[in-house]
């Protein structure tokens, strides 16, 4: 795909002015970093950084049947949204129990919801959701919101910095618990993120995005690219769609069992297939015990059988390489495996994830 065909967010000019190194991500021309990915990573762990995530798509779902429709569409249970503003993380499955996408859905009060889906899958998702709507709940209205920009401000000082730029927002958002959102005029503010740090995700009309971006930078928030977003989310043990799971994978095979609400008899799409399919593998963490960097698709071998790294990186916080990997179902944290890194098989320890939370290592004590 040539650069001219790539889509751009409302903040594209701001990125160029900040000397962003741009990359193709899911058909979007997005910042990879603004000089140093590792420095951006540390800024988010220690202070505050801002990511343009406007390539992701917000889809508003409204109507009397919206809640029951989402109860059919999503593997997690929309009934868990008992308070207006509350957010829920869920997989959306196909009839075979494969993961079409992972997403966040917010209850905006009454019969209004907002889903946020991944950029690379947005077109496919929308087509699927419309088809299911036509079949299950024809009265439900779907509004893709390409008119909105999304900024993720993350880090221990992120909320403080947002209030510094937008003082009127403090009263609205100071009491927000984690995974809760509130709307303040045209501004949607959620205490959510993809980094393992505190912070806000903000949705604003596209025309207001650049002013907010500039004010955040003026307040000392570091512009951060998708490179740092990837190392932060991996340290935080968060899945990346297309890498750690896809349509060929069930949530049970992707470490997402906790997001599948099987209590009761709710008939969500994919449920019947999940009951039939025995998981072929389990997603677990790996910690490389030697110098080197674990990366996607590296083969794994162990006494339990073989597997594959789904996401691997150098962890800037831990100063060593970590990964998420598909391992035989019998594999257990504490065991050793070998990973093929270039032409050598290197020892790695199976560990639980997250690896880092709120700036602190969560590695087991026996790891040196």
């Amino acid at each position: 795909m040539s650069p001219t065909e790539l889509k751009r967010t409302p903040l594209f000019d701001a990125h160029r002015r900040a000397h962003a190194r741009l990359t193709d991500f899911g058909g979007w021309e997005m910042p990879l970093h603004y000089g140093s990915q590792i420095e951006e990573h540390h800024r988010v762990r220690c202070d505050a950084g801002v990511f343009d995530v406007s390539h992701m798509l917000a889809i508003d779902v409204a109507g009397g049947e919206a809640r029951s429709f989402l109860g059919r569409l999503l593997a997690n249970d929309i009934a868990r949204l008992a308070l207006p503003g509350k957010a829920l993380y869920s997989c959306m499955l196909n009839e075979d129990g494969g993961v079409l996408d992972d997403l966040i859905v917010y209850w905006r009060g009454e019969d209004r919801f907002r889903m946020v889906v991944n950029a690379g899958t947005a077109g496919k998702d929308l087509a699927w959701i419309e088809r299911q709507r036509d079949r299950l709940a024809a009265g439900v209205a779907l509004h893709p919101r390409r008119d909105l920009a999304m900024l993720a401000v993350q880090g221990p000082r992120a909320r403080e910095r947002v209030w510094q730029c937008r003082p009127a927002l403090r009263a609205q958002s100071e009491a927000l618990a984690a995974f809760q959102a509130r709307e303040h005029g045209l501004l949607f503010v959620a205490r959510t993120g993809y980094t393992g740090e505190d912070g806000f995700e903000l949705m604003v009309p596209a025309a207001d995005a650049e002013a907010l971006w500039n004010d955040l930078l003026d307040a000392g928030v570091a512009p951060c690219g998708l490179g740092a977003r990837d190392t932060l989310r991996l340290e935080a043990g968060m899945n990346l769609y297309g890498q750690d799971m896809d349509e060929s994978t069930t949530p049970f095979e992707a470490g997402l069992r906790w997001t599948v609400a099987l209590a009761g008899t709710r008939d969500f799409i994919g449920r019947a297939a999940l009951a039939q399919r025995a998981p072929r593998w389990n997603l677990l963490g790996l910690l490389l015990r030697e110098r080197g960097v674990l990366r996607s698709h590296q083969p794994v071998r162990s006494a339990r059988g073989s597997g594959e790294v789904t996401s691997g990186t150098f962890s800037p916080t831990l100063g060593r390489s970590i990964a998420l990997a598909r391992l035989p179902v019998a594999a257990t944290p504490g065991e050793m495996v070998e990973v093929q890194v270039r032409d050598r098989w290197l020892p790695a320890q199976v560990v639980n994830y997250p690896f880092v939370r709120r700036g602190k290592s969560l590695l087991p004590d026996d790891v040196v």
Partner: protein, 129 residues
């Protein structure tokens, strides 16, 4: 992207500098570090090891990718820059100060056969398309 005029270059993006004592210092170019992004490991050849021109002799790993180091000249490795083991970011900060290893060249003519700055700039320009 800087390409100092007083260095020699390989089209595999290493630079080589003839030192006063007759040894040759080797590193990766500014263009190479820029392409790789933040470096996290430098695995240079070891002191005493013999390297051969055009052959793999080490690895640099960045957050993005692993990349082989190729020897721009043949010879015996006489020193390795230990400072890079703990601080690979020095390569990103100043690629031409961050030498990786020094070699006693077995054939000084090899150095002269490397690219000069103008020729290497053309390699970089072609690489950017």
């Amino acid at each position: 992207m800087t390409v100092p005029a007083d260095l020699k270059y390989a089209d595999s993006h290493e630079w080589a500098r003839l030192e006063a004592d007759g040894t040759v210092s080797v590193g990766i170019t500014d263009h190479a570090q820029d392409r790789l992004g933040d470096l996290v490991f430098v695995e240079a050849p070891k002191v005493g090891q013999t390297v051969a021109k055009g052959k793999e002799c080490g690895v640099v790993e960045s957050v993005k990718a692993a990349s082989d180091l190729y020897a721009p000249v043949s010879g015996e490795v006489v020193a390795v820059n230990q400072a890079l083991a703990g601080s690979p970011e020095k390569v990103n900060q100043d690629a031409y100060a961050a030498w990786m290893y020094r070699v006693r060249p077995s054939d000084p003519a090899e150095l002269n056969a490397l690219l000069d700055a103008a020729a290497y700039e053309k390699v970089v320009a072609a690489d950017q398309h």
